[in-house]
Amino acid sequence: MKTAHPFTSEPGTVGEGLAQRGVSRRNFLKYCSTLASLLALPAGMAPVLAAAIATARRQSVIWLSFQECTGCTESITRSHSPTLENLIFDLISLDYHHTLQAASAEAAEQAREQAMHDNVGKYLLIVDGSIPLGNPGYSTIAGISNHAMLLDSARGAAVIVAVGTCATYGGIPKADPNPTGAVSVSDIVKDKPIINIPGCPPIPVVMTGVLAHFLTFGKIPELDGLGRPKVFYGETIHDRCYRRPFYDQGKFAQSFDDEAARRGWCLFKLGCKGPVTYNACATTKWNDGTSFPIQSGHGCIGCSEPNFWDAGGFYQALSMPITPVQGTLAAAAAAGAAAGVAVTWHNRSKKSAARAAHQKMTVDDLKREEQ
C-alpha cells in the first residue's frame, strides 16, 4: 500500500510535531500497528492510520465534568498505550479540562469559548458525570447549570463521547432514589452522534483507543444498541475470564480466603457479575495488564452496565442461566458487520493461546503478534 511519508506533512500538523520531537518513522509506525490491533483492524491498516494521524492538526477536545468523582479522568491518566502524554502532546489539543488545565476562572471559560469558536462543528466533546434535572442549582460551573453548559457545548461539537457510567447511563447519582434527578448525556442531547464508554471508571486503554479511532477515521466506531463500541464491549467478562474453566468444571470459591479462592476458582457463588457484564477487563486487564478485579479475588460488580447499582447486591449470586461458550460467537455473528471485527479479534487472541495458557493478554501482546 502506498502512503505518504508520515512526517512530510503540513506545518502545525501532528506529523510535523512528531518529527520535531525526534520520533522516528519506525517508532511511529509501531505505535500505529499497536493502535490498529487494539481497534481490531487488519494489519494492513497501520500505514493508513499512520498517514491519517500524521497529517491531522491536533483535534480540539473539550472535556466537561458534571456530577462526577474525577475517577474517569484519573483512569485516563493510567493509560499505558497510548499514554495521556501521547494524547495531549501528539494527538489532541485538550482545550478545556478542569482537572488538568492551567487556567482557572474567567481564563478557563474563555479557553472553552475560544475552542468552540475556532473549531465549530469539528471539536470533540467529552463528558463525564451525570446531569441533575431536579434543580439547576444542584450543579453549576461558573454560575452556569450543567444542563445549560451541556446544550451550549454540544451545539458545535462533531461528536460527543460520554465517558463513565454516570455520563452514559446516569450512574451512581441516578441510583435509587435518584435524589437530584440525574440523567445521562443521551437523555438530553438528541441531535448529535454519541459514543458511550461506560465503566466506573472505564478501562484506560478503552478510552484512549476510542479517541484514537475517531481521530484516525474522523468517524465513530461501530456501536451496539447501548451506544458502546462493539470492539471493546462485544463480549462478557465471563466469556473471556481466565477462571472460566473452573466455572465449566463446577469449581467455586465459597469464601474470600478458602482453599478454592487461593487456587483461583470461579467467584460466581460470591456474586460475580461477569456473566452479564459486557466489558474488556478480562482481556485488556487493568494498569498495564497487571490484574483485574476477578484476578484479585473479588467478583465483578458489573460497573459498565446500565443501572448496575440497583441490580441486586454485589455478593448475591446471579440466578439467571448462563450462556454457553458457543453463544459468544453466535451473538457476534448476528451483529452483522461487527462479526468480522469480533471474530477476528477473538481468533487473534486465540492464536496467542492466551486463553489456553491462562496468561494475561495486554496491549503489548497484541503488538508482538502483529510483528
Partner: protein, 589 residues
C-alpha cells in the same frame, strides 16, 4: 475601589469549587467565601442497602483519593459489627493506603499545584546544560543529562509553536508572581512529564491487591485477594477447560514482586525527585512562608495501625487536636461525645429540624436539601446567606484544619523522631523558622515530608506481610460475621482514617441487616466548609484573608493557597435527604 472577585471554576482540583473574595482599595482580600457547587446525594442512595455493599457506593464519593472512602466504609461496618480483621489484611490495607498517599501527593504536587509556581513558557528560555547542572546539584536522580532536558524542552517547544496550547492555554504565564529561573522551570516541566509516567506504574500495587485503579476492590472483614503462593493446582482431564489454576490470584509470587518493585520505585522518586524539587522550588518563594496560615487549630484521627484499628496507641500517625498552634498540648478526641464532632448548616443549602443555629452529631445527622441560591446563570452568590453545598463541621465548636500539615504537627508535637528530623532538615535548607509551617508553602512542604515518612514505612509493612506468609499465615479474611443472620438487630459504628487530604470519618447505623443511616464527614468539608452560626470561618476562608492580588483577572495568589490544601470537592459535598426531595422546587432548566 472595593471589588468582588469570583474564581469559578477553580481548576486543577477535584470537583466543583468556587471562591468569592472581597478586596479593599489596595487589592487585599478582606473576606473570602468558599462554595461547593455540586451535589449528588450519595448518603441517601446508601440507605436501605446491604452494609457489605456500602464500600463500593461510598468509594464513588471520589475517584482521586480513590480508595479512602471504600476503606472508611468497610471500617465503619467492621466497627459496628465488632469484626476483627486478620493481621495480613491490616498490613495489605496499610500498603494500599500508603500507596494512595504517595501516588496522590506526587500527582498533586506536579499536576495540580506546580503550575502555580512554575512558568511553563519560561522553560523555553532555559539552557538544558545549566538545567542539568542544577538538577545534579539537587539529587542523584538518573534522568538529569543535558540531553534529557533538551528533549523535554523540544517537546514543549513543538507544542507551543504549533499554536495549540491545549491544557496550558490561557495560563498566567509571565505573571510577575512567578519567580523561578528558566532552568528551574524546565526541570519542573520535565518532572511533570516524568511523574505522569511514574504514577501510571506505581498504581500497580493497587491492581495487585484490589484488581484495578482507580476504584480498587474491598471487602468487609479483610481484603478480597486471597494469597496464592501454591504454584499450581493439578487439574483433571485434558484441554484448557480442565486445566488447574496455574496462576491462582494476582497475589502470587509474581504479584508480590510487583509490589516490592513498586515500593522501590515510590521511594526512589520521592527521595530523588519529589523532596528535592519541593525544597528547591519553595526556596524561591520565601514570602509564601508568611501567609496562608488558616485557623491555627489542627485535628487528626490517626492511621496506619501496627496492630489493629482498635489499638490507636499502635498507629503511625497519632490521634488528637492541637489548638491555637500550641504544640505542647495534644487534646484527646471522643468521637462518640455529643458535643465534640458536629456539623452545622448555618450557611449551607440544607435545613435542620433544630434550626440553622445548632450543630448535630453525625449519628443523628440530618440532611435536607434546601437550595436558596440564585437561579443559574448567576454572577454572584449571596454570601451573607446560604452559599454552599458543603456543611461546616466543627470540633467543640471550633474550626480545625485537617490534612498533611495537621499530621506533621501532630507527629512533631508527639515527639516522633523522624518527623522532627525531617522538619529541621527542611527548615534549615529553607532558612525558615518553625512558624513558617503555618503558611501556604508550609502546608505544601508538610505534604512532601509526610510522603517521605510513608514511603519509608512501606518496606516494613511489606516485610512483615512476607514474614507472615513464610510462617504459613495466609489468612486475609474473617468470615465469622459475613452472614447478616449473625448480626444484632441494631448496631452503629464509625470508620476513621487519615485520607491523603486529612481526617475522614464514615458513620453507619445498621438496623435489621440494612443501612438505616449513613453519614460521611470528609477532609475537604473540614477545610472548605462555609462559615458557622457564629460567623467563624473554616480554614480555606481564613487562609485567604490578607492576600494581595497583583491582578484580579489572574488570581494566582488565591490558587496558590487554595491548592496548598489539595481540594477535593466531590468528597466534601455528598449529602442529601429523602425528605429534601419534596421540598425542592423541581424545575427543568
Amino acid at each position: 475601589m472595593n471589588q468582588r472577585i469570583v474564581v469559578d471554576p477553580i481548576t486543577r482540583i477535584e470537583g466543583h469549587l468556587r471562591i468569592e473574595a472581597e478586596t479593599d482599595a489596595d487589592g487585599r482580600i478582606t473576606r473570602a467565601s468558599s462554595a461547593g457547587t455540586m451535589v449528588r446525594g450519595l448518603e441517601i442512595i446508601l440507605r436501605q442497602r446491604d452494609p457489605r455493599d456500602a464500600w463500593a457506593f461510598a468509594q464513588r464519593i471520589c475517584g482521586v483519593c480513590t480508595l479512602v472512602h471504600g476503606m472508611a466504609s468497610v471500617r465503619s461496618v467492621e466497627d459496628a459489627l465488632k469484626i476483627e480483621i486478620p493481621a495480613n489484611a491490616e498490613l495489605i490495607r496499610n500498603l494500599m493506603i500508603g500507596a494512595q498517599y504517595i501516588h496522590d501527593h506526587v500527582m498533586h504536587f506536579y499536576h495540580l499545584h506546580a503550575l502555580d509556581w512554575v512558568d511553563v513558557v519560561s522553560a523555553l528560555k532555559a539552557d538544558p546544560k545549566a538545567t542539568s547542572t542544577l538538577a545534579q546539584s539537587l539529587s542523584g536522580y538518573a534522568k538529569s543529562s543535558p540531553g534529557y532536558f533538551s528533549d523535554a524542552q523540544k517537546k514543549l517547544k513543538g507544542f507551543v509553536e504549533a499554536g495549540q496550547l491545549g491544557i496550558f492555554a490561557n495560563g498566567y504565564w509571565g505573571h510577575p508572581g512567578y519567580k523561578l529561573p528558566p532552568e528551574a522551570n524546565l526541570m519542573a516541566v520535565a518532572h511533570y512529564l516524568d511523574a505522569l509516567a511514574w504514577q501510571r506504574d506505581v498504581v500497580k500495587l493497587h491492581a495487585i491487591f484490589g484488581g484495578k485503579n482507580p476504584h480498587p476492590m474491598f471487602v468487609v472483614g479483610g481484603v478480597p485477594c486471597a494469597i496464592s503462593i501454591d504454584p499450581s493446582h493439578v487439574g483433571h482431564g485434558q484441554g484448557p477447560h480442565h486445566r488447574g489454576g496455574d496462576s491462582g490470584t494476582a497475589l502470587n509470587m509474581t504479584g508480590l514482586q510487583v509490589v516490592q518493585n513498586v515500593i522501590h520505585q515510590m521511594k526512589g522518586f520521592v527521595d530523588q525527585v519529589y523532596v528535592p524539587d519541593t525544597l528547591a522550588i519553595a526556596g524561591f518563594y520565601p514570602d509564601w512562608f508568611k501567609q496562608g496560615e488558616g485557623v491555627g487549630n489542627f485535628m487528626t484521627f490517626g492511621d496506619f495501625p501496627a496492630k489493629s484499628m482498635n489499638d490507636p496507641a499502635s498507629f503511625l500517625i497519632p490521634r488528637g487536636v492541637i489548638l491555637d498552634r500550641d504544640l505542647s498540648k495534644i487534646h484527646p478526641i471522643d468521637v462518640n461525645a455529643e458535643g465534640e464532632i458536629q456539623e452545622f448548616v448555618s450557611h449551607a443549602w440544607y435545613k435542620y429540624s433544630v434550626g440553622k443555629a445548632k450543630g448535630l452529631h453525625p449519628y443523628r445527622g440530618e440532611t435536607e436539601l434546601d437550595y436558596t441560591g440564585p437561579q443559574p446563570p448567576y454572577q454572584h452568590l449571596d454570601v451573607d446567606q446560604d452559599y454552599s453545598w458543603m456543611k461546616s463541621p466543627r470540633w467543640k465548636g471550633k474550626p480545625v484544619e485537617v490534612g498533611p500539615l495537621a499530621r506533621v504537627l501532630m507527629l512533631y508535637a508527639s515527639g516522633h523522631v523522624q518527623t522532627k528530623e525531617l522538619v529541621s532538615m527542611a527548615l534549615k535548607q529553607l532558612n525558615a523558622p518553625v512558624e513558617a509551617l503555618y503558611s501556604t508553602l508550609g502546608r505544601t512542604a508538610a505534604r512532601t515530608l509526610e510522603t517521605k515518612l510513608i514511603a519509608d514505612a512501606m518496606q516494613g509493612w511489606y516485610d512483615q506481610l512476607l514474614a507472615n506468609i513464610k510462617a504459613g499465615d495466609l489468612k486475609t479474611f474473617n468470615d465469622s460475621q459475613w452472614e447478616p443472620s449473625t448480626w444484632p438487630a441494631r448496631a452503629q459504628g464509625v470508620g476513621l482514617m487519615e485520607a491523603p487530604r486529612g481526617g475522614l470519618s464514615h458513620w453507619i447505623v445498621i438496623e435489621n441487616q440494612k443501612i438505616a443511616n449513613y453519614q460521611a464527614i470528609v477532609p475537604s468539608t473540614w477545610n472548605a466548609g462555609p462559615r458557622d452560626a457564629g460567623g467563624g470561618q473554616g480554614p480555606y476562608e481564613a487562609s485567604l484573608k490578607g492576600h494581595h492580588l497583583h491582578d484580579a483577572k489572574q488570581p494566582l495568589e488565591i490558587l496558590r493557597t487554595i491548592h496548598s490544601f489539595d481540594p477535593c470537592i466531590a468528597c466534601a459535598v455528598h449529602v442529601t435527604d429523602p425528605q429534601g426531595e419534596e421540598l425542592v422546587q423541581v424545575k427543568v432548566y
